[in-house]
């Protein structure tokens, strides 16, 4: 590009004015290591700003997926919750709804995430610890008891056994008199990021991908208001990735699911409008906002140009945001209220459709009710008091934001090219490529913190010695015994023959890659088959997965 008068002017300013004062000794880069200029000017805008930035609700959606954004409707305040038994979590759900929350989000415990029933030997000590234990349809019914599933949208964070949990949910709704087509919500289902970052799996990669495909296909026909997958960068970021890695790996995962569904014979416009995303909101404010804007632009372009989507709704990258758990400190925990507020603001200025704000005590344990209330109030203060929702994409056109958006977009395409060289995302995951990139980034960041180059308040700067003990939520160990009794009770009281028949049929169906497993899982759910039994039946056909340990 030829040198323009403005460029020359910017250079003159830097030489004559800016350089006159020495810079302070600090790291002028984002938390992800992107170098930041002292000043951005018009020269940093995209070459064709009208095309690249555009208008809200119009291609390429950089400024937001909806024309009215928060002028039309605020984001959904959706706090993730789950611990102990279904009854206990049901009480927390009702508490959140009473305090103005507008959607529910379910956290499952580790055994549920890994496909183990609560009485499995590997579940010992883990039942209800990090989320709610759900073994059967009965547990799912108890979880949503008294909550009208045709009125409240529900999100479920579960992946490897997602199809089973969806079957439980559909049957639980059926027993409330609510049909699948009335159900609104999201189930995470993003298995690729499990192998990449979250590491809760049940099967090898290929059969796990088939199960995802079966669900997407079944939901495309039966559940028009349901998001069968939430393609998630959150866990990738929590595992230590950079913003660019989160962006690139998440979108590449999403494009991989699109390719798979198209390869199964679905029309892209039959399912793409139901795909949704989930991103982290980390502490580097502008980088996060740029990340969301870049994500929308890339997704719209790839869906239209590479995958031939014609329905405009297929192009819209709608996303949920959660503030960064990894940014919270155990030291001086009240400071986490401030971190979370800033991160939440980044999510809002980035145009999120829904938001979870973390509680200040989460570096210590699951949150107490008081901490959860402050977290929800943080969103309400942003929505009601700050005025940031008065106008759409208030940072659009900012020289810095637009330059950083373009930079992150370029970084994502660099990763796409590397992944394509490895044979696509499934192969890249099998080769451990994204896993290694993330571990390297996590290690680099840790070194920056330990050298003191990256300053963390309360950790390596402004420290105060020991903190006073905080009240934390303790999970009553009696939950585990209760839950073990519940699942064993279901097994002893059900029609044993019907359960065995449903399991046999499921196993047979698994052997035929052309058979969609969803109807078989629904039948098994209705026959009171447990999660662990279904997983084991599928593992007899699919096998199990273990990662090659590397660091």
């Amino acid at each position: 590009m030829a040198t323009t008068p403005r460029q020359t002017d910017r250079e003159r300013w830097e030489r004559e004015r800016f350089a006159a004062t020495p810079e302070r000794d600090a790291l002028f880069s984002t938390i992800s290591g992107e170098a930041i200029e002292p000043l951005y000017t018009e020269r940093d805008l995209p070459e064709d700003p009208e095309d690249a930035i555009g208008l809200p609700g119009e291609y390429p959606y950089t400024r937001g997926v909806y024309p009215s954004m928060y002028r039309g409707r605020l984001w959904t305040m959706r706090q993730f919750a789950g611990f102990g038994t279904a009854q206990e979590t049901n009480r927390r759900f009702k508490y959140l709804l009473e305090h103005g929350q507008t959607g529910l989000s379910t956290a499952f415990d580790m055994p549920s995430l890994m496909g183990h029933d609560s009485d499995h030997p590997r579940s010992l000590g883990e039942v209800g610890r990090e989320g709610v234990a759900v073994d059967t349809v009965e547990d799912m019914q108890a979880l949503f008891d008294g909550i009208p599933l045709d009125k409240v949208s529900v999100s479920m964070t579960i992946n490897a056994p997602a199809a089973i949990m969806l079957a439980f949910y559909v049957v639980a709704a059926e027993r409330q008199g609510v049909a699948p087509e009335q159900l609104a919500g999201t189930i995470q289902t993003d298995i690729l990021k499990e192998y990449i970052a979250q590491k809760e799996w049940c099967f090898p990669v290929d059969p796990a991908m088939r199960l995802v495909g079966d669900m997407i296909e079944w939901c495309a026909g039966q559940m028009p208001r349901w998001h069968p997958i939430s393609i998630s960068g959150y866990h990738i970021r929590e595992a230590g990735s950079t913003a660019a890695q989160e962006l690139a790996f998440t979108l590449k995962d999403g494009l991989t699911y699109v390719e798979q569904a198209v390869a199964r014979g679905l029309d892209v416009d039959d399912f793409a409008p139901r795909l949704s995303f989930f991103f982290n909101a980390h502490i580097d404010f502008f980088e996060e906002i740029a990340k969301y804007r870049a994500a929308r632009r890339i997704w719209a372009r790839e869906l239209r140009q590479t995958h031939g989507a014609r329905d405009e709704r297929s192009l819209l990258m709608r996303f949920h945001t959660q503030t960064a758990g990894v940014s919270l400190t155990a030291q001086q925990p009240l400071n986490n209220v401030v971190r979370t507020a800033i991160e939440a603001l980044a999510g809002v200025l980035g145009g999120t459709q829904s938001l979870h704000t973390n509680s200040f005590d989460e570096a210590l344990a699951l949150p107490t009710e008081q901490a959860v209330r402050v977290a929800l109030r943080t969103q309400q203060i942003i929505a009601e008091e700050t005025g940031v929702a008065n106008t759409i994409d208030p940072l659009g056109g900012s020289y810095f934001i637009e330059a950083l958006t373009t930079r992150l977009e370029e970084r994502a395409y660099e990763y796409f090219a590397k992944i394509d060289e490895l044979g696509g995302m499934v192969d890249a995951v099998k080769q451990g490529f994204p896993q290694r990139e993330i571990a390297d980034a996590a290690f680099r960041y840790q070194q920056e913190v330990e050298s003191g180059a990256r300053r963390l308040v309360g950790v390596n700067a402004y420290t105060e010695g020991e903190d006073d003990a905080m009240p934390i939520l303790r999970i009553d160990p009696a939950f585990e015994a209760d839950q073990v009794r519940r699942v064993q009770g279901v097994r002893s009281q059900r029609d044993g023959e019907a359960a065995i028949a449903a399991l046999d049929q499921l196993e047979q169906a698994a052997r035929d890659p052309g058979d969609n497993l969803m109807p078989h899982l629904l039948r098994a759910a209705r026959a009171e088959v447990t999660e662990g039994e279904m997983i084991q039946a599928l593992q007899r056909v699919f096998g199990t997965y273990s990662e090659t340990p590397a660091f």
Partner: protein
Amino acid sequence: MSAPSEKKIRVVVAKPGLDGHDRGAKIIARALRDAGMEVIYTGLHQTPEQIVETVIQEDADAIGLSILSGAHMTLIPRVMELLGAQGVDDVVVTVGGTIPGEDVEELKRLGVSEVFTPGASTQEAVEFIRNAVAQRA
């Protein structure tokens, strides 16, 4: 760095239970290796039995157990019990993760040498293991 003649400290870094959070385990494994130790990383989802077997097979001097799932008061006492049952009493056991203060005391009572909670530096862990192993030698 250790002198070439010195025997390298052997450390098993393990993830007990179903918890998949391995950022910390991988960072600490790398830091220990960079400090000149021989690191055996078990990978994820290990039972206490598998961990103790690895410790014995690898003739480890120290163990680093990384756990963020809240199941530490079930899994770590079990590791300690199995080590005792196998007559392994000369291995330095350290734990890293989100462990509430009162649980830290209880784990130490069971024979855990040190617990590193969020914000601890890898250098602290390296120094601790180096000194504790030297003292036991």
